[in-house]
C-alpha cells in the first residue's frame, strides 16, 4: 500500500515535470520516436528475412542423380559418403529409385501416366536420386561441390542460383541495421539523461528537503525513473501507429510478397501486435536506462 502511494506520487510528479521542461522533453520524445520507428522497421525486416529464409530453406533441395551403371554397392557407397558431409541434414536425406520417381510422376499427371505406362525397368530413362537438405543455405555451393566428387554421380542440382546470394545480401543488410539501431539508442539515452538532469536540477531544493525529512533514496528516485518511462511511452506512440497502419497497408499493396512469390511477407495479424509490444518495451527500457543513469550520476543521494 505504502509503495503504491509512493508510485502514485511519483507519477504525479513525473507528469508535471514532463510539461514543465516541455521543450527538452519534446526533444527526447522525438528522438525516441525516430529511434523506435527505425527499430520497428528493422525488426519487421529482420523477422521477414528470417521467415522467408526459412521458407526458402525448406524448399531448397540438392538433387543427386545416380549414374545408370551404378550397382547396389555403389549406391550404398554414395549413401556412406553423403553421411560424411557436415552441412547435410542427415535425417532428411531421401533416396528414391527410378521406379519410385516414375510412380510419383505418374500420380501427378494423366499425361505422364499414359506415357510412362509402357516403360519397364530397362527402358525407364529416369535415374535413381538422392534428395538432400542442407543446414546452412549460405554454404550450399560448397556442399554441392563436395557431393560432386563422389563416384558414380552425374548431376548435382540445387534450387534457384540467386537464392543463396539473396540470403547473404539480406544478412548483411541486417547487420548494418543493427549497427544503426544501437547508435540511435545510445544517442537517445544521452538525450534522456540530459532531460532528467534538468528536472533534477530544477528540483534540487525539494530533493534536499526530502532527504532531510527522511525520504528513502528509492522514494526520491521514483519520480525521475517514471519520468523516463513516460518519455519512452510518449515516444512510442507514433512508431506504434506506423506499425499498426503501415505494415498491413504495405502487405496489401505488395500482395503479400516481394518481387517474386518465392519471397513472401509475414501476414500482418498477429505479427504487428508482436512488433508493437516489442517497440513499446524497447521504448520503456530505453527511457528507464536513460533516467536511471541520470539519477545515478546526478542524484548522489
Amino acid at each position: 500500500m505504502k509503495i503504491l502511494r509512493m508510485i502514485g506520487r511519483g507519477i504525479r510528479d513525473a507528469i508535471k515535470s514532463v510539461f514543465r521542461n516541455f521543450s527538452l522533453s519534446l526533444a527526447s520524445i522525438s528522438c525516441i520516436t525516430i529511434t523506435l520507428i527505425i527499430v520497428a522497421i528493422s525488426i519487421i525486416l529482420s523477422y521477414n528475412v528470417t521467415n522467408f529464409t526459412k521458407e526458402i530453406e525448406k524448399d531448397l533441395t540438392i538433387v543427386v542423380f545416380v549414374n545408370n551403371d551404378a550397382t547396389e554397392e555403389d549406391i550404398q557407397n554414395i549413401n556412406l559418403e553423403l553421411k560424411k558431409i557436415e552441412n547435410i541434414v542427415q535425417k532428411e536425406t531421401i533416396y528414391k529409385s527410378k521406379a519410385d520417381v516414375k510412380k510419383e510422376m505418374q500420380k501427378e499427371s494423366e499425361i505422364f501416366n499414359s506415357v510412362m505406362e509402357e516403360w519397364n525397368n530397362e527402358s525407364n530413362p529416369l535415374k535413381d536420386t538422392f534428395q538432400i537438405k542442407v543446414k546452412n543455405v549460405e554454404k550450399i555451393k560448397d556442399t554441392a561441390k563436395k557431393i560432386e566428387k563422389i563416384d558414380k554421380i552425374s548431376v548435382v542440382r540445387y534450387g534457384e542460383g540467386m537464392v543463396d546470394k539473396l540470403i547473404s545480401a539480406f544478412s548483411s543488410i541486417q547487420k548494418v541495421t543493427y549497427g544503426a539501431v544501437i547508435a540511435l539508442i545510445l544517442v537517445t539515452i544521452f538525450l534522456i539523461i540530459n532531460t532528467i538532469k534538468l528536472t533534477i536540477y530544477s528540483r534540487k531544493r525539494e530533493i534536499s528537503i526530502m532527504r532531510l525529512v527522511g525520504a528513502s533514496n528509492f522514494t526520491i528516485k521514483i519520480p525521475f525513473i517514471i519520468e523516463g518511462i513516460i518519455l519512452g511511452l510518449l515516444g512510442s506512440i507514433v512508431p506504434v501507429l506506423i506499425v499498426i497502419f503501415g505494415y498491413p497497408y504495405l502487405y496489401r499493396v505488395m500482395n503479400g510478397y516481394v518481387f517474386t512469390p518465392l519471397v513472401t511477407l509475414i501476414t500482418p495479424t498477429p505479427f504487428i501486435y508482436t512488433i508493437v509490444a516489442i517497440t513499446i518495451i524497447i521504448g520503456i527500457i530505453v527511457g528507464m536506462i536513460g533516467s536511471s543513469s541520470a539519477v545515478r550520476k546526478y542524484l548522489k543521494v
Binding site: 532527504r211 527522511g214 522514494t219
Partner: protein, 232 residues
C-alpha cells in the same frame, strides 16, 4: 540513557580545514542543550555530523542507537526519520502552502492521507499557525516561517530536534516566541533538543545545559549554564 554519544570525533574537510578536534560528548535523552561558541568554532559541523550530512574523519558517533559514522548513504533516511531538523533559513518549499509544506514531510515517507491530515493540523496547532494553513511562505513573517519549519520538523514525532541557529534571522521578540515553542516540545513530549545559537539573552534566560565550542574543541559543558561566563 544517552541519545547521543561522540567519542574522539575529528572532522577535517576536504580542503584541509579541521573543524573539530577530538570531540567527546554525551547527551542524555530528553535534555535541552544549547550549543554556543564563536563563528567558525564548529557548531554547524557538529550538527551536520549528527544528522549525517557530513561523515567524521575519525571517531565514533552514535545517535539514537544508530552508528552514524558507519551509516551508508542509502540508509541515512533511517537516521533522519528519528530527527527533526530546523535551519536558520527555514528551507520551506515556496510553491507549497503551509499545510502542504508540513504534509510533505509525511508524504515522502509514505504516510496515509488521514494520518497526515490529523498530524499536520496538530503540529500547526502547537506552533500556533492553524489559522494560516492556506498561506504560502512568502505571505508569512520570518517568525511564522520558522514556526512552519518547526511544525514540519516535529510532525513525524522525532526523538530529537536539531536546530541550527533557529532564531538567527528573527528579532528578539519573535526569537523568544520560537524558543518557547521549542522548549514546550521538549517539556511536553520529552523530545531531546539541541539548539545552536548566538543569542545571549535566550541562553541566559532559559537556563539549560550549555555546551561551548572554541576553535573546534569542547571547552565547557554545564548543566545550567549561561552565555556570559562561558564566553568565547
Amino acid at each position: 540513557m544517552d541519545i547521543i554519544r561522540l567519542k574522539n570525533v575529528k572532522k577535517q574537510y576536504k580542503n584541509g580545514t579541521t573543524a573539530l578536534y577530538d570531540l567527546n560528548l554525551n547527551i542524555e535523552k530528553g535534555s535541552f542543550v544549547f550549543i554556543i561558541g564563536g563563528s567558525g568554532s564548529g557548531k554547524s559541523t557538529l550538527m551536520k555530523l549528527l544528522y549525517r550530512e557530513e561523515k567524521p574523519t575519525s571517531g565514533q558517533i552514535i545517535v539514537g542507537g544508530i552508528n552514524v559514522a558507519k551509516l551508508r548513504n542509502s540508509k541515512v533516511y533511517k537516521l533522519r526519520r528519528k530527527l527533526g531538523i530546523v535551519f536558520q533559513d527555514y528551507r520551506l518549499l515556496p510553491k507549497l502552502t503551509v499545510y502542504e509544506n508540513v504534509a510533505f514531510a509525511m508524504e515522502v515517507i509514505g504516510a496515509k492521507k488521514q494520518e497526515i491530515r490529523s498530524k499536520v493540523l496538530k503540529s500547526l496547532e502547537i506552533v500556533g499557525l492553524k489559522s494560516k494553513i492556506h498561506n504560502y511562505p512568502n505571505q508569512l513573517s520570518g517568525g511564522e516561517q520558522q514556526r512552519v519549519a518547526i511544525a514540519r520538523a516535529i510532525v513525524n514525532n522525532p526523538k530529537m530536534l536539531i536546530c541550527d541557529e533557529p532564531t538567527g534571522n528573527l528579532d528578539p521578540e519573535m526569537s523568544m516566541e520560537v524558543m518557547k515553542i521549542i522548549e514546550r516540545i521538549n517539556e511536553e513530549w520529552g523530545t531531546t533538543v539541541l539548539v545552536v545559537t548566538h543569542d545571549k539573552e535566550i541562553v541566559n534566560k532559559l537556563k539549560k545545559q550549555v555546551v561551548t565550542l572554541k576553535d573546534g574543541r569542547l571547552v565547557n559543558n554545564k548543566a545550567k549554564g549561561t552565555y556570559d561566563n562561558e564566553n568565547t
